[in-house]
């Protein structure tokens, strides 16, 4: 290489480096990436606000195409009635898809218990949905990896890959999973992932008339739901299983199963 050629190449090289550096300065991809806030979906259930209307269950079944009459659901509402003699009655008739319309508690096998108002110490409703655990046992036990946790914390099921062995259903301490009556694969609540990733609210949250159900990003300190979870007294369901649930409850009583 002669001197002219060397200088030409050096100038070209320097120009190239400068151009690349310039692009980096103008567009700042690293800063751009950092600007995307990390997301971890969390749910807040205020049991004091729940009136047991069952709108959430209905909305969920319609939105997620779970046959309405099938006795399985991604979400449900439980009723607890504690009588003056300390007995605890609980039920969730038909997942509460039609709401709680009578005072009779469903005991299963076609039997009911009528409880008069004057015998009741306290009574309340508790909506339930998938806890999207940080350490989900259902994901751990899936033999084919058909169920998995997304980066934003939601546990999903791949309907094309699930073999329907039922191990995940056995592994969930909350009884959230079931076999989809039509698709014959494992099914569960996913916070309406198809909606929340497009900026919408889950069907149950949108349908709730009292605001008992709320969803938010618990990694965002500005998020109102995250704010409540951080600053108020909330509890999680069955912490003894070590699953780190991400559905937080306000007013979860010790009678709640």
């Amino acid at each position: 290489m002669n001197r002219r050629g060397f200088l030409k190449l050096s100038i070209k090289g320097a120009a190239g480096i400068a151009f690349a550096k310039g692009l980096d300065e103008i567009f700042r991809p690293r800063q751009g990436l950092a600007a995307v806030k990390p997301v971890r979906w969390g749910f807040l259930v205020d049991t004091y606000k729940c009136i047991g209307c069952g709108f959430c269950v209905r909305a969920c079944k319609l939105e997620n195409e779970i046959p309405y009459e099938a006795n399985v659901s991604r979400t449900w509402v439980e009723r607890y009635v504690i009588t003056k003699d300390g007995r605890v009655f609980a039920d969730a008739p038909k997942e509460a898809r039609n709401g709680f319309t009578t005072n009779r508690v469903d005991l299963g096998m076609g039997r009911y218990q009528d409880i008069k108002g004057e015998y009741i110490d306290k009574a309340f409703f508790v909506p339930k949905l998938c806890n999207q655990c940080d350490k989900p046992p259902c994901v751990q036990v899936c033999p084919v990896g058909a169920t998995y946790q997304t980066a934003d914390g939601v546990v999903l099921v791949d309907r094309k890959w699930c073999i329907g062995c039922g191990y995940c259903i056995m592994a969930c301490p909350y009884g959230m999973r079931f076999f989809h009556p039509v698709h014959q694969v494992a099914e569960k609540c996913n916070f309406c992932y198809h909606r929340i990733t497009k900026g919408m609210k889950p069907a149950c949250v949108q349908a709730c008339p009292t605001g008992a159900r709320k969803i938010g990003n618990i990694k965002d300190a500005q998020d109102p739901v995250a704010n409540i979870i951080m600053t108020q007294r909330v509890s999680i369901h069955k912490p003894e299983y070590g699953t780190n649930p991400q559905v937080y409850f306000i007013g979860l009583s010790e009678e709640v199963r």
Binding site: P143, G164, C165, Y167, G175, F178, F179, Q184, Y241
Partner: protein, 416 residues
């Protein structure tokens, strides 16, 4: 209607999605793998430790183990909601799951048993192939037999003293490797249940060990029972002097038979003691520690499932056969009911684990009752019903019958 509503009746407060998802086929699965493992361990007692008394039953139980092994995955297949996707378990195993190991374990174990059988019967296969090759004017049955023998030799026709000695060595090594693998195959079935932290009845580290011990008990019992039945058939044939090739007289068979049964029964009793001790330890420990779930477990074990657990499993299935086999001067007539009861006991143990574990709710304040579908109205009620289970139970015997047409499973002479 949800499929599981066909056999689940819910009582008191249960979560809406709770049903008995694992039904009769999942009872059959550990029962079948248990028989596989037990039959193999029995054969290994001879091949590995050289316990001469078990020589007769050893070769027989090895082949029976293989027949059972082929059937063992079928209950799982029948139970899958998406049976056509079964190979996903081998294609994309997700190894944090106990079930994912299934493919690896069953193929490794299958390979071990198949090659052990091959080494054991190689001489016979070669001799059969060579003999039929020389024979002229073969009829169709002989042609098929010749083809099968020749294929099964895998092209190795060397049966010199030296190679046969090497075969014997290979059998010993395979039997040695096979025992831990057989225990793993079944212990891991116990792990599948024992590791489910959501299920208060299943979750115990003792589960795999309990499963292995009861597996050996059931496998030995089934091998003894099948051995007795085939020997009785032989005796019957010897008495009638049928044209089948019979090597012994009726009295000779009888003498060998009771001898084998007596000696094997001793091993059965030892494993039965281990099995019962572990199960009782588990029960006592649960009652003594009495954690949160004990309240409902106590009601399930001592009240609702009392018949299944204490009458059918412990009394009829464990205590009775234990006494029957322990009384001196064991006879075949006494051994047969005892062995049937042992099998019943182990089956009920599987039933009480699988169905019993799902008969109470995760709420700890409700129950689920199982109603086994008997009349098959649909494919589902067949698969998950009585007849599906009976089909699985019958298949190993059919397979074993086919194997016994090819391999001299009961021949008394020969070395090894």
């Amino acid at each position: 209607m949800v499929l599981e509503e066909l056999w689940t009746v819910k009582e008191l407060f249960t979560y809406p999605n709770e049903y008995i998802y694992w039904s009769i086929q999942i009872v059959m699965y550990p029962f079948m793998t248990g028989l596989v493992a037990g039959a193999f361990v029995l054969s290994s007692l001879y091949h590995l430790f050289g316990i001469k008394q078990l020589k007769e039953i050893a070769r027989f139980s090895l082949v029976f183990s293989f027949a059972l092994l082929i059937v063992a995955p079928l209950p799982l297949l029948l139970h899958l909601q998406q049976p056509l996707r079964n190979y996903f378990v081998y294609m994309t195993p997700h190894f944090t799951s106990a079930i994912a190991a299934f493919g690896v374990v069953i193929f490794v174990y299958g390979a071990i048993v198949a090659s052990e059988i091959w080494f054991l019967y190689r001489k016979h296969l070669v001799e059969g192939s060579v003999k039929l090759k020389q024979q002229l004017n073969k009829n169709l049955a002989e042609k098929i037999r010749y083809g099968v023998y020749t294929i099964l030799t895998l092209g190795v026709f060397d049966i010199s003293e030296r190679t046969l000695r090497q075969d014997a060595k290979a059998i010993k090594i395979l039997a040695g490797v096979g025992v831990p693998v057989a225990c793993f195959l079944h212990g891991y079935a116990g792990f599948i249940f024992g590791s489910v932290k959501a299920n208060a009845l299943w979750m115990t580290p003792l589960m795999p060990v309990i499963f292995i011990m009861s597996a050996i008990v059931s496998g030995v019992a089934l091998c003894m029972l099948t051995y007795i039945i085939t020997m009785e058939v032989k005796k019957f044939r010897a008495a009638r002097k049928t044209p089948f090739p019979i090597h012994q007289t009726r009295e000779e068979i009888k003498g060998v038979e009771i001898d084998v049964v007596k000696k094997t029964a001793r091993y059965l009793l030892v494993f039965l003691i281990f099995s019962i001790s572990l199960e009782l330890l588990d029960l006592i420990f649960r009652g003594y520690t009495a954690v949160k779930s004990w309240d409902i477990l106590r009601r399930v074990i001592y009240e609702r499932d009392f018949l299944d657990i204490f009458i059918l499993q412990y009394t009829l299935g464990n205590l009775f056969p234990f006494i029957l086999l322990l009384i001196p001067r064991l006879t075949i007539r006494r051994a047969i009911p005892a062995l049937f009861l042992v099998l019943l006991g182990v089956f009920m143990m599987r039933w009480n684990v699988v169905i019993g574990g799902q008969s109470f709710s995760l709420t700890f304040s409700g129950y689920m009752n199982y109603r086994l579908p008997i009349i098959p109205h649909s494919l589902e009620t067949f698969k998950e019903g009585l007849f599906g289970a009976l089909l699985i139970g019958a298949l190993p015997f059919i397979l074993f019958w086919i194997f016994s047409k090819i391999l001299p499973v009961f021949d008394m002479e020969e070395s090894h």
